[in-house]
Symmetry: C2
């Protein structure tokens, strides 16, 4: 497709990507995470997950969703991370002030045009208490028969404004 | 908890995090993505999602799982991204040579100790063809009654070794 026919958003992203590639970025060659680590954190715009834990590209898988919650998708991704790519540690890293904390799911609405019977029910995994949700997610991973008993599973809580993490010992 | 009682992995991550915080990182203050964009990409260790699209912290939500597949978790996260935080564009960005491409799910096993009846069935979202899977995921988002008709949804394919993206026009 000629670039002039592409959506403007795509044209500008392709442009930016050409600059990135032209700068010969240092991209690691290994596919298996060298620190044997998977980080699960939030999609929040303020989080630089590798940098804030002193990690570099190549060292860890990074999984991100709304709230850093342990969902079926996170579980399946971790099974692939562990069994196909050799990771043996997981850090769950939700953050203070997360939008999923206290989220009123009644404000989330499907398109009005769709007949209600066509709208799948979504569990938004809203949290009322950050540490309680983290504790629950840690237990769900630790007890999952899909996760090996040799896998370390820890939680860290991120103060996103400062980029500082603390270990709640859960 | 005294730091000496913490797991060694946590001690070393806390140490690295103190250096990060001491360096006064430039963390944006906005919570809503300023480019009104959400990027969905893979957990792969070689991907620097913002950098390769010329974006900075603060501009886009970043969602990551095994394969950049559209799962229920991705859908719920995008609904929150759009309806609670104002994004109106989604880029799905899977990559060539992904581990989920051609993944033989028969090699993925639960812990032997668990009785089979306790093992939930997981859909690993394995792909046989990258562009076919991307096309399917784009359609599933575009047709979801949870996604507004005003939301732009595009796909980019990443050549992860070079960091280069191309627009397949799907």
């Amino acid at each position: 497709m000629p670039e002039s026919d592409m959506p403007p958003l795509i044209r500008s992203l392709l442009d930016a990507n050409r600059s990135y590639v032209a700068g010969h970025p240092a991209i690691p060659e290994n596919v298996a995470p060298s620190a044997r680590l998977a980080i699960v954190t939030c999609m929040d715009v303020r989080i630089d997950p590798l940098a804030l834990l002193g990690l570099r590209l190549g060292q860890a898988h990074v999984l991100r969703n709304a709230g850093a919650r342990v969902t079926e998708d996170v579980l399946r991704s971790l099974v692939i991370s562990q069994q196909a790519l050799g990771t043996n540690a997981v850090i769950l890293m939700p953050h203070e002030g997360c939008g999923v904390l206290g989220l009123d799911v009644r404000t989330l609405r499907p398109r009005v045009a769709a007949p209600p019977s066509d709208v799948p029910v979504l569990d938004f995994h809203a949290m009322q208490d950050l540490e309680a949700a983290l504790a629950e997610d840690l237990v769900s991973l630790r007890e999952s028969p899909w996760i090996g008993t040799d896998v370390q599973i820890h939680g860290l809580v991120l103060d996103v404004a400062r980029g500082a993490v603390r270990y709640p010992g859960l």
